[in-house]
C-alpha cells in the first residue's frame, strides 16, 4: 500500500510498559513483574476525560487500528470502527488498545521468558481470569494518567472485560459497551472450548505445555482448535452462502482423506494460518478465562446483585445469527442491569454473519455504536 486511507489513524507504533509491582492473581499466585504492550490513537485531553479502552477477544491483540508500516497489507483488527470520524472517533477520543496479559503478541505470557528460570514460562504460566486482566489494565490506566475511562468497549471476551470493569472499578468507567457477549458461558459454549483444548493437549508435540523446551509447537492441535472455533463463529447461513456444497474439483473422489469440499479447504487454511501465528498455551489460557467468567457466581448467581454497584451507563448489542454468544445471553445481561436499575440500552442487530458480525462493518451496528459514542461527554 502506497498511501494510507484518509480515515485511518495512520502509522502506529506499539508501546510497552514494564510493571514491577507484583500482581496478585485470582488463582492465588503472583506475577512479580510483567510487561504490557499497547497502542494509543488520538490525544488524551487536558482533563483526561476522553480515554476509551478497547478490550480484545480470544485471539485479538493490541493492534486494533492503523498500520505498523506503509507496507502492511491489512490494518488493525477493528480499524473499521476506530479512526478519525469513525464510530470510535479518534478526533474526540484517546483510544487505548492492549495485548492482554497471557497473550502472545508482546505482553508477558506463556511464551515469554520467566526471569526466575531464564526459560519460557510454558506450562508454569499462571491461569488468568477476566478480573486479573481488568486489574492489570487498571495499572496501565494509571501509567497513562487515566483516572476514569470515558468508555470501555469490547466484543465477545472483550465484552466480558468491559462488564468486569464496570463491576470492579465503578468509579473509573462512565460507559460500558458490551458487544456479542454474555454474563457467563453456557455449558455448550464451555464444551466447544473443551474440544479446542483437548485438540491442543493431546497433540504429541504439546509436551504438557513445555513444547518450547523441545523446540516444537503443537501445530496440529492448534489448527484443530481453531477449526472448531471458527465453525462456531460463523452462522449456518453465512457458511452456506460462502461455500454451500461446492467442490474443489467437479466430481467426488470417493476418497476418505482428501480435501474435497470448499468448506474443508477453507477451514484447513484458517487453522493452518492460525497455528503458525498463535501460541497454544495462550489459546488454552484465553479459553479458560472465558469459561471461568461468571461474576454473579460470587453472589449466589444473583446477577442483579452483582451489578448493583455499577455506575456506568451500558450499551449491550447482540447479533441475530450469533449462536456462540446468542442474543439470549445478552438479554440475560440486560435483564440483570434492568433489575439492578442501571441505565442500559440493548440492540439485537439483524446480521447473517454469526458471532463474527461484531468485527464487521454492519451499517446498523456501526450507526448505533457511533451514535452512542458521539453522545459521550468529554470535557476539555
Amino acid at each position: 500500500m502506497s498511501r494510507l486511507p484518509a480515515d485511518s489513524v495512520g502509522l502506529v507504533t506499539p508501546q510497552r510498559h514494564t510493571f514491577t509491582e507484583p500482581l496478585s492473581l485470582a488463582c492465588g499466585k503472583q506475577l512479580p513483574r510483567y510487561e504490557l504492550v499497547y497502542e494509543t490513537y488520538g490525544e488524551l485531553n487536558a482533563s483526561a476525560s476522553n480515554a476509551v479502552l478497547i478490550c480484545h477477544a480470544l485471539s485479538g491483540h493490541h493492534h486494533a487500528a492503523g498500520y505498523h508500516s506503509i507496507d502492511e497489507r491489512k490494518p488493525g483488527w477493528w480499524d473499521n470502527c476506530i479512526g478519525p470520524g469513525k464510530a470510535i472517533d479518534t478526533n474526540r477520543f484517546f483510544v487505548v488498545s492492549l495485548n492482554n496479559l497471557g497473550g502472545c503478541h508482546g505482553s508477558t505470557g506463556p511464551s515469554s521468558i520467566d526471569p526466575a528460570t531464564g526459560k519460557s514460562y510454558g506450562a508454569s504460566f499462571p491461569v488468568l481470569t477476566v478480573e486479573d486482566w481488568v486489574h492489570s489494565q487498571a495499572r496501565l490506566a494509571d501509567v497513562l494518567g487515566v483516572q476514569q475511562w470515558a468508555a470501555v468497549v469490547g466484543g465477545s471476551l472483550g465484552g466480558m472485560q468491559a462488564l468486569q470493569w464496570a463491576i470492579s472499578y465503578p468509579e473509573r468507567i462512565r460507559h460500558c459497551v458490551a458487544i456479542a457477549t454474555a454474563p457467563k458461558l453456557s455449558a455448550q459454549n464451555i464444551a466447544f472450548n473443551e474440544v479446542a483444548r483437548q485438540a491442543i493437549i493431546t497433540d504429541p508435540d504439546f509436551h504438557n505445555g513445555d513444547y518450547a523446551a523441545f523446540g516444537v509447537i503443537p501445530k496440529r492441535g492448534l489448527m484443530l482448535a481453531r477449526m472448531v472455533g471458527h465453525i462456531t463463529y460463523l452462522s449456518d447461513d453465512s457458511m452456506g452462502a460462502k461455500f454451500g456444497r461446492d467442490l474443489r474439483s467437479d466430481q467426488l473422489n470417493y476418497d476418505l482423506t482428501s480435501v474435497e469440499f470448499e468448506v474443508e479447504s477453507y477451514l484447513r487454511y484458517q487453522g493452518q494460518e492460525f497455528s503458525g501465528r498463535f501460541d497454544a498455551n495462550t489459546y488454552l489460557l484465553m479459553t479458560k478465562a472465558l469459561d471461568y467468567f461468571d461474576p454473579a457466581g460470587a453472589h449466589g448467581g444473583d446477577l442483579a446483585r452483582t451489578l448493583a454497584g455499577i455506575k456506568a451507563r451500558c450499551l449491550v448489542m447482540s447479533f441475530t445469527t450469533d449462536w456462540r454468544f446468542s442474543p439470549e445471553r445478552s438479554r440475560e445481561l440486560v435483564d440483570g442491569l434492568l433489575a439492578a436499575r442501571k441505565d442500559v440500552s440493548y440492540l439485537e442487530i439483524e446480521a447473517a454473519q454469526g458471532h463474527d458480525a461484531f468485527l464487521l462493518p454492519i451499517p446498523r451496528y456501526i450507526e448505533a455504536l457511533s451514535g452512542y459514542m458521539n453522545r459521550i461527554e468529554v470535557s476539555q
Binding site: 450499551l315 438479554r331 440486560v334 435483564d335 434492568l338 433489575a339 436499575r341 441505565d343 442500559v344 440500552s345 440493548y346 440492540l347 439485537e348 439483524e350 446498523r364 450507526e367 448505533a368 451514535g371 452512542y372 458521539n374 453522545r375
Partner: protein, 198 residues
C-alpha cells in the same frame, strides 16, 4: 423541543423523579422530555431500527424488544408508570399487555383511537366497509391495527379485570379536548388517554 400534544398531557400525569417504562417509545420524545424536565429514569421498548438509533443518539435508554412476545423480563412493581401510546390496537393480546403494564408498574397510561367515533360509525354505516381515513390510513388486510376497540369496550375490559380508571381524557385527532367530546365521549371522542391502576 415542543412535545406532541398527547405526550404533553401524559407528562403532566408523571411524578418528578419516578421510573417510567414506555412501551413503543418511538424516537424517545416522551422519555427525553421526562429526563430533562422531571428527572425521570426512563426506559423505552421499540422494534423499529431507525427509531432505536434515534433514541441512542439522544441518550435515551432503549431496548429492542417486541411487546407481542413477552414482558416477562420486567419484574413486578419495578416501575412507577408504564406508558403505551397508540399501540394497544396493534397488540396480538391487548389484554395481556394491559395486565403486564399493571404488573410491572403501579400505574399505566394508555392512548388509543376510539372505533365508535361517529366518523367510523358513519363510514361503516353508509359504505358498509371498514373505515379508512387520514387518521386510520390502512386497508383491513394490511394494517398493524388488528384489535380496534371502543372506549366502552376498554372500560368493560377494565371492569372485568378489576382495573381502576383513575383519569380519562377524551380528545380529538389533534389531542384537543372540547366540551362536546366530554358530553358523549364514545360517540364524539376520537382518542382517549387513560390513566389506570389496580
Amino acid at each position: 423541543m415542543s412535545l406532541r400534544a398527547d405526550l404533553e398531557i401524559i407528562q403532566q400525569w408523571i411524578r418528578p423523579g419516578s421510573r417510567v417504562l414506555d412501551l413503543g417509545c418511538g424516537e424517545g420524545q416522551l422519555l427525553r422530555h421526562l429526563r430533562d424536565h422531571k428527572d425521570v429514569q426512563g426506559y423505552g421498548l421499540e422494534i423499529d431500527p431507525d427509531k432505536i438509533s434515534s433514541c441512542i443518539r439522544h441518550g435515551v435508554n432503549v431496548m429492542e424488544q417486541n411487546l407481542d412476545e413477552s414482558l416477562d423480563n420486567f419484574e413486578d412493581n419495578s416501575f412507577d408508570t408504564v406508558v403505551m401510546t397508540q399501540s394497544l390496537q396493534a397488540m396480538h393480546y391487548p389484554d395481556r399487555v394491559l395486565e403486564d403494564m399493571l404488573r410491572i408498574g403501579h400505574e399505566g397510561i394508555l392512548t388509543f383511537p376510539n372505533f365508535a367515533h361517529w366518523r367510523c360509525r358513519w363510514y361503516l354505516g353508509t359504505k358498509g366497509r371498514m373505515p379508512v381515513s387520514e387518521f386510520m390510513p390502512y386497508t383491513w388486510y394490511n394494517t398493524p391495527n388488528i384489535h380496534f376497540c371502543t372506549f366502552k369496550d376498554f372500560e368493560q375490559l377494565c371492569r372485568e379485570r378489576g382495573i381502576k380508571v383513575l383519569d380519562r381524557l377524551v380528545v380529538d385527532q389533534t389531542h384537543q379536548s372540547s366540551w362536546f367530546s366530554g358530553l358523549w365521549p364514545n360517540l364524539l371522542g376520537e382518542v382517549a388517554i387513560y390513566r389506570v391502576s389496580r
